[in-house]
């Protein structure tokens, strides 16, 4: 538990439906929530910040003291205080910490961070049914999210030079979703033909507004508001508004015959404000069919099959999201964008191109083909579904690198490029083992497998593909393919780390492969396949007997790999003085210990933060997601107390995870990454929280 962290929440909800006339109904639902939370200062995106308490706790050598201590008259140590404040060590004792200034634990104590959030979600609807089978509806959904954040950096902590600093931010998110639908359902008289036709218009609009400011020189060191900040030089207040909108027309038709044969078709045409006029609209739709085999006469006698249904569908979907919805450039990626500033000394404004847009940008489309079956067998002993899918995504929205010599301000332009294919299979099974009046025992299992293949890339990309520091995109490969330097173990003579390289002649032709060298700058980056797991899913069981119930749910992943950047940081070669070590560093080469795969600790800086396959490990895991034990008091007992049911329970969430190395948590990311990025749960954050809940459920 991090001290000075807290969470308070209030919620309220009202639902009201009103049948005004037989043909007219109105619906209302309102949700309101308020939360007030206090959080520690950390950012799991950044790494290596000595202001991040999780990084400090994980990566600072444990030999350094947290507090400044002195000895009292009896020779017993005590923690020094000053004006009532605990004095933390920040290099003011003889324990000089070469790579850590300040003290993040102290800052967490003296700083203050608050988040206040008010969220109102409202939905209103009007439903007309003027004639039998016809429904006209209008729906309005509104979300209003107001968040205020205050951050106080204390003069007793990191903001000593500024005599305290305060940052206040207000975010207002307002979105509306409007929907106007006409639906007609009918069964043709005297037949078993059922038809359902729907048409409508939909519009979504989002406004994100932000007001933020900071100032320093706090008169009262404890008040984290701008009015308490008396500074004049670094005062800053800014605000902006960005909007996003989509709208579209939709139509759908569904048909079934006798509850056995089903067919459906849909079409929609959507526009997004992220694209330029003329490239804004896209057409999407779907077709589907299903057959309930057990509805047929010839299945009536097959008693072990309770339900069997085959289904097939094809659909085209659109995506307009590139780069998220926080940074301003991704609201208008189609347009060139400029930023500006002012020089008070010369009274001049200056302006620069900040983002190069692409007016041809348009929808990314995914075409999915699914085929599968649902089944229920043997009276509930085995139920499940099997689904095989192929999804081809075309015109991917992508930030394409352009030659840096072209002087593009971000080095990338947004484009629609390439195509990828995802193919996979999903199997879901459940069933009951024992089902009697008093005992019910069930199980469930699901398995998924998929692979990813790049079908085409930008025509400007060479056959060698797009290379990065640890991954490569090339036709025939996947989006998750490694391109990494390979570790060849330790030279038993010298203890130096060895790496593989391909020797080339003066013209760059490879003349020998997989040679070894201790010169890391010569190490070749090799293609090393996909890191994706072969199989993942979950399983669980639950049993209830005589009022007691017990359930457990697990998840797993098999056959993938994961880049453990945290381990790399903890296996430094003594080049990062003061940093913690993994215990594997004890296995390092020494003249006495030559048979090892951990190189000597010689301060070598060659590898530094570069990705090497030595730090890849299996991403297999098994996690205990939930275990719940409950007892339901017999109905006849609770009835006397005026209740209809009473259950007491205790439940544990995220109880354990078993992985190839302690501390690695492959649930957070696929694990394609390097020292600093993409390695999921990095040293800058904390592990998944374990939650134990106890409760009583009453129903009146």
């Amino acid at each position: 538990m991090v001290s000075n962290s807290s969470y308070k929440r209030y919620t309220g909800r009202v639902n009201a439906d009103y049948q005004v006339k037989k043909w007219f109904k109105v619906t209302t639902s309102l949700n309101y929530s308020h939360s007030n939370s206090q959080v520690a200062d950390y950012d799991d995106e950044s790494f290596g910040s000595s202001g991040n308490i999780f990084y400090i706790v994980n990566n600072m050598g444990p030999i350094y003291p947290l507090y400044v201590r002195k000895l009292d008259d009896n020779g017993n140590p005590y923690i020094v205080t000053e004006n009532g404040r605990t004095v933390y060590d920040s290099n003011n004792t003889n324990f000089k910490r070469p790579n850590f200034v300040g003290n993040a634990i102290r800052d967490n104590e003296v700083d203050d961070r608050h988040n206040y959030a008010d969220v109102l979600v409202g939905k209103w609807g009007a439903i007309f049914t003027p004639v039998e089978g016809l429904t006209l509806s209008a729906n309005l959904g509104v979300t209003n999210d107001n968040t205020r954040r205050t951050e106080l950096y204390s003069q007793f902590g990191s903001a000593s030079a500024d005599d305290g600093l305060v940052y206040v931010e207000h975010n207002r998110l307002f979105s509306t979703n409007q929907q106007y639908l006409a639906e007609y359902k009918t069964t043709i008289a005297g037949t078993e033909h059922s038809i359902d036709i729907l048409a409508g218009y939909e519009q979504y609009k989002k406004t994100r507004q932000r007001l933020y400011g900071q100032n320093d020189h706090l008169f009262n060191p404890l008040i984290g508001e701008l009015s308490n900040a008396d500074g004049t030089e670094k005062k800053s207040v800014k605000s902006y508004t960005n909007e996003y909108m989509t709208e579209g027309f939709l139509a759908r038709a569904q048909y079934d015959y006798a509850g056995k044969y089903f067919a459906s078709a849909s079409f929609r045409r959507d526009a997004s404000s992220r694209f330029a006029k003329g490239h804004r609209w896209g057409n999407f739709g779907s077709l589907g069919a299903a057959w309930l085999v057990t509805g047929e006469e010839f299945m009536k006698d097959v008693s072990w099959v309770d339900m069997l249904k085959f289904k097939v569908s094809y659909g085209v979907q659109g995506n307009d999201n590139l780069g998220g919805d926080i940074e301003p450039q991704w609201y208008y990626p189609y347009a060139d964008q400029y930023t500006h500033s002012y020089n008070a000394a010369t009274s001049e404004y200056s302006m620069q191109l900040a983002f190069k847009g692409n007016s041809d940008l348009t929808w990314e489309t995914s075409k999915s083909f699914n085929i599968g079956a649902d089944f229920e067998l043997l009276g509930g002993v085995l139920n499940g579904s099997l689904e095989v899918f192929a999804r081809k995504t075309e015109d991917l929205l992508y930030e394409k690198d352009v030659p840096l010599s072209a002087g593009n301000p971000t080095g990338v332009i947004p484009v629609n490029v390439g195509s990828i294919m995802n193919k996979g299979v999903e199997l879901t099974l459940d069933g009951s083992i024992i089902r009697t009046k008093d005992v019910n025992w069930t199980w469930n299992l699901n398995l998924s497998h998929y692979n990813n293949k790049i079908l085409s890339l930008d025509s400007g990309v060479s056959e060698e593909g797009i290379k990065g520091g640890y991954r490569i995109y090339k036709v025939g490969g996947s989006l998750y393919d490694l391109y990494i330097r390979k570790y060849a173990g330790v030279d038993p003579e010298t203890g130096q780390a060895l790496y593989y390289y391909d020797e080339t002649d003066d013209d760059g032709n490879v003349i020998a492969t997989m040679k070894t060298t201790s010169d890391f700058s010569k190490a070749t980056q090799y293609e090393d396949g996909s890191i994706l797991p072969k199989l993942y899913g979950g399983f669980g069981t639950s049993i209830s007997a005589y009022g007691f119930d017990l359930s457990a749910q697990f998840s797993y992943q098999l056959g993938g790999r994961y880049y453990d950047g945290s381990y790399q940081a903890l296996m430094h070669t003594q080049s990062s003085a003061g940093q913690a070590w993994h215990r594997d560093a004890l296995k390092a080469w020494t003249p006495e210990n030559t048979n090892t795969d951990v190189p000597r600790l010689d301060g070598d800086i060659q590898v530094a933060q570069t990705a090497v396959d030595r730090f890849l490990i299996s991403s297999n895991y098994l996690s205990v997601n939930n275990v719940t034990l409950g007892y339901t008091v017999p109905a006849r007992l609770v009835k006397r107390a005026g209740l209809s049911s009473l259950r007491v329970y205790v439940s544990g969430e995220n109880l354990a995870v078993i992985t190839a190395r302690k501390g690695v948590d492959p649930r957070f990311s696929l694990g394609l990454g390097s020292y600093t990025a993409g390695s999921g749960l990095s040293t800058g954050s904390y592990g998944a929280m374990r939650n134990i809940t106890g409760g009583i459920t009453l129903t009146f």
């Binding site: 005004v20 990191s158 000593s160 106007y180 804004r280 010369t346 001049e348 690198d401 400007g460 800086i605």
Partner: protein, 537 residues
């Protein structure tokens, strides 16, 4: 029924609001679309000048490359790295040293941020200049427009002169340098490395144009380029090309306009304001630019007096190599530009930081750690303990031009004139006891020594080494001979291919005509212990 009416009204309201227009969505922020820029320029025509000013602002703009990291401040980072890759400026081997890639020379990694910033920055400016220049009709004739074009073209020359020497020895005129990009360039994906000679042809053309068209032009601030700056840039280009006569002549035009800083003026930490009279051209850093980006500034790294800095707070000060410092005579005021082994310097005597004296040894929690031996106090802060970090940065000083002229004269057979110029400058402005032959060096090496001392920290380190064909010599065979950290302690041969930068991966991946530099290998600790550079021997 009352409720009924309310809901009917609501339904009508829903239908009404549906008629909003997706075409009218534009940002209301610090970002502007092209249409909004045009709109602004129509309403306030003077705003059109902002894109011209923007090119000059970009030279040292914090976070210019959008990395939002402390090593992201455009040309001023390039200058800083030039010194840290040289032999005379060093930082500790610490986790807070964001420039250890320069100290250890791993900046040749194609995937690292540091070389990426150093490659991208000049090309961004070149693109801005090309766009700006292309915006005028070919037969533009009004004086004001021509002067804007002349300044822009001089900036383009400046950008190429920063870029080319990083990728090729400028003395290798036929050697491949970097892609040549002009307003006519169309295919950036097949743009091979042009020869040094070809790029310098454009550089000289641009500077000739600037010199000619800026005749009589009075600039509003020293952040802009006037004819004198154009002469100074051309003097540098001529020195690069070995046109020593021309270099000396161009430098003379600058020397005639400016006076060097006096001994008294450099007897305190300075080189911080564009108003200093010895600055010919400077970067005007403003608090508006550094706000919330104070870490990405020279004040945060190079200067030792900021209350919001990596240098002071993390004891990551930039020091001089004692090999060079030991060669500075005690009578030279510049000996005091760095504290000695015992952290003493007359430059900081009597100065206070938050009211406290003995700045060298002062510790202020989170703000200031004690200086290290040989920490520089050459570069000051406008206020000691500042947290705004808006100190300006010199891009050209008259002192440099005196040394350029001296070198030009010395290498074009006018040694006596060169020695006199050098002697007059140093005796009057730095060391009254100075004697040109005092060290027994050749005149050329003596001028290089003066450049190393006078221009320390201003971005000339490794460029001079490569231009002069010298080896970077950081130590003399023993750990004690230097204050470079072990990881950065090595010497490199003058022709070591590792002195040339490598192209960033993105450029290699997208510009198919690039053939990368591939000679040399990462220096290892204590390599070439017997190499000497002729000056610090």
């Amino acid at each position: 029924m009352k409720l009924n009416k309310i809901y009917l009204t609501l339904a009508a309201g829903l239908a009404f609001t549906a008629c909003s227009d997706i075409d009218e969505i534009v940002p209301q922020s610090d970002r502007m679309l092209e249409s909004q820029v045009k709109e602004t320029n129509t309403i306030v025509p003077s705003r059109a000048e902002a894109s011209f000013t923007g090119m000059f602002t970009s030279i040292g703009k914090p976070y210019a490359a959008n990395y939002e990291t402390p090593d992201d401040f455009a040309f001023l980072v390039m200058a800083f790295c030039n010194d840290l890759e040289g032999a005379d400026a060093l930082m500790p081997d610490s986790g807070y040293n964001w420039f250890s890639v320069c100290g250890e020379y791993s900046s040749r990694n194609a995937n690292y941020r540091n070389p990426y910033i150093r490659y991208r920055t000049p090309y961004k400016l070149i693109a801005d200049v090309n766009t700006f220049v292309s915006g005028f009709p070919e037969d533009v004739s009004d004086e004001n427009s021509i002067r804007l074009i002349a300044q822009a073209r001089a900036l383009r020359a400046f950008a190429y002169m920063q870029l080319v020497p990083a990728f090729q020895f400028v003395t290798n005129l036929d050697g491949p340098a970097v892609p040549l990009v002009t307003p006519e360039t169309e295919d950036f994906t097949h743009n091979p490395r042009a020869a040094v000679r070809d790029i310098y042809t454009l550089v000289i053309e641009d500077l000739n144009y600037a010199v000619e068209k800026l005749e009589g032009f009075k600039r509003s601030s020293k952040m802009y380029i006037d004819q004198t700056v154009a002469y100074g840039l051309r003097a540098r280009a001529n020195l690069d090309l070995g046109n020593y006569d021309d270099a000396a002549a161009d430098a003379a035009r600058v020397i005639a306009q400016y006076t060097p800083a006096s001994i008294a003026e450099v007897s305190k930490p300075s080189f911080m304001s564009i108003d200093e009279h010895n600055w010919v051209w400077g970067y005007d850093m403003t608090a508006a630019l550094t706000l919330k980006k104070t870490d990405a500034t020279p004040s945060s790294w190079l200067r030792s007096f900021s209350g919001d800095s990596y240098s002071a707070a993390c004891q990551c000060y930039v020091s001089i190599n004692k090999l060079l410092w030991n060669k500075i005579p005690a009578t030279d005021i510049r000996k005091q530009w760095w504290v000695d082994e015992g952290l003493h310097s007359t430059l900081i005597e009597g100065l206070t930081w938050k009211g406290k004296g003995d700045i060298a040894n002062l510790t202020l929690n989170n703000e200031k750690e004690p200086f290290l031996p040989y920490t520089n106090v050459k570069f000051g802060c406008l206020t000691i303990g500042t947290t705004t970090n808006d100190e300006d940065f010199p891009l050209m000083r008259v002192e440099e031009m005196i040394l350029v002229r001296a070198e030009g004269l010395a290498k074009s057979g006018k040694e006596a004139e060169a020695a006199q110029l050098l002697s007059d400058f140093v005796t009057t402005y730095r060391d009254p006891q100075y004697s040109v032959n005092g060290r027994g060096l050749s005149l050329a090496d003596e001028i290089w020594f003066q450049r190393r001392v006078e221009l320390w920290g201003e971005g000339f380190g490794i460029y001079d080494i490569k231009r002069l064909g010298k080896p970077p010599v950081r130590f003399h065979g023993t750990p004690e001979s230097t204050n470079f950290a072990p990881a950065f302690r090595f010497n490199m041969a003058a022709d070591d291919g590792w002195l040339l930068m490598r192209f960033p991966q993105t450029e290699l991946d997208t510009n198919f005509s690039i053939e990368d530099n591939n000679n040399g290998s990462l220096p290892v600790m204590d390599q070439n212990p017997t190499l000497r550079d002729g000056v610090t021997d």
